[in-house]
Amino acid sequence: MSYGLRVRDKKGKIIIDTSDRITRHAYTSVQTASSGNSGALSQLKGVLSGNFAVPVNADLTKTAHGVSRSGTTITWTSYTYGIHLSPATCVIFSFIYT
C-alpha cells in the first residue's frame, strides 16, 4: 500500500481499501404533489450521481416524479392525467458514487 486508507474488520477482511469508491448521500428533499421543480447542487460538480424519487403515502391514483440531472442541477417532473392520475408527494434523492 503506497498511500491511502485501508480498514479491516476483526477477522482481517478489508472493509475499505485505497481504491474503493464509497456511495455517499448528497441530497434529500420532500416535494409535495405540485408541478416539477429543480435544485442546484454544487456538490455534484465533477462527480457521477444517481438521482431518483420515491412516493410517500401513495395510492393507485398517484404518480411518481421523474428525476433528471443536467450539470449540477437536478430537476423533478410530475405527471397528471385528467381525473384519474395525480402526483404523489415524493422524496427526491441524490447519491454520489465517484
Partner: protein
C-alpha cells in the same frame, strides 16, 4: 475545509469527509413472492427516509418495485413493494429480494475499526456498518432489456415507476386500466422494465391511452452484504 478529515482513494475520488452521511444496512432483508402490495415495517422508524434495494429473482414476465413509503409524522414507518405479472399475461406473482438502508445515529458494536463523526456528533462513517454502493447508473427503456455485463446478480433502485392509463371500449363500455412499470429479471446480468395493470379505475365508452414516459433511471447496486 478548515479542519476535520477528508480521505480520498488513489484516483483522488472522495471516500470520507465531514459532509456526507452514508446510508447503511439496517438489518432488514427478506423475500416476497406475491401478487399485489407487500409491506415491511421499519424496525426503527426514523425522520430520515429509508432506501430499499430490490432484486427480482425469477420469471422474465414478472415485475416488481418499491411502491412508496408510509410517513406518519414525524417518522417514516413502512416501505411498500409492488409485484405482479406483465400486462396481458395474467395475475402471477413475482419473486424478489429486498434490503433496507437507513441513516442512523447508532454506532456499530465493533470494538475496533474506523468511525468518523461530524461536528454535530452524527456518524459519517462506521466500518462496522455496511453502506450500499452504486455500481452503475443508466437509462432503461420499457420493453427493452438493459444489460450490466460487469455486474452479476446486483440489487437495483429505479425511478420513476412510470404510470400509464388505457381505456378500452370493448364494443360498448369497457375498463380504464391503470398501468405501472416495474422491473423484471431477464438474466443475472440483465433486467427489463415492463408494464403491469395495477388497477381498474373505472369504465369508459372511449378508446384512449396516455403514458408518463418510456424510460426509467436504473441504479445498479452492490448491497455490500
Amino acid at each position: 475545509m478548515g479542519y476535520g478529515l477528508k480521505i480520498r482513494n488513489v484516483n483522488s475520488e472522495l471516500q470520507i469527509d465531514d459532509k456526507y452521511v452514508n446510508y447503511v444496512f439496517n438489518g432488514q432483508a427478506g423475500s416476497f413472492d406475491v401478487f399485489g402490495i407487500s409491506t415491511v415495517a421499519l424496525t426503527t422508524p426514523s425522520k430520515y427516509p429509508p432506501i430499499a434495494l430490490i432484486q427480482p429473482t425469477g420469471g422474465n414476465d414478472r415485475v416488481c418495485g418499491v411502491f412508496d413509503y408510509t410517513y406518519s409524522s414525524p417518522n417514516y414507518t413502512h416501505i411498500r413493494f409492488f409485484s405482479s405479472q406483465k400486462f396481458n399475461l395474467g395475475s402471477g406473482t413475482c419473486p424478489f429480494n429486498y434490503r433496507i438502508y437507513t441513516v442512523t445515529d447508532e454506532m456499530s458494536t465493533d470494538a475496533y475499526g474506523l468511525r468518523v463523526k461530524k461536528a454535530d456528533g452524527r456518524v459519517v462513517y462506521d466500518s462496522g456498518k455496511n453502506p450500499f454502493k452504486i455500481l452503475e447508473v443508466g437509462i432503461a427503456t420499457v420493453g427493452v432489456t438493459y444489460t450490466h455485463a460487469s455486474h452479476t446478480s446486483p440489487y437495483y433502485i429505479f425511478s420513476p415507476w412510470l404510470s400509464g392509463i388505457v381505456g378500452i371500449r370493448a364494443g360498448g363500455q369497457g375498463p380504464v386500466y391503470r398501468l405501472i412499470v416495474g422491473l423484471s429479471k431477464q438474466s443475472s446480468t440483465s433486467v427489463q422494465p415492463q408494464s403491469t395493470a395495477a388497477a381498474v379505475l373505472g369504465v369508459t365508452n372511449l378508446d384512449f391511452s396516455d403514458f408518463q414516459g418510456t424510460t426509467i433511471t436504473l441504479l445498479v447496486c452492490d448491497p455490500n452484504e
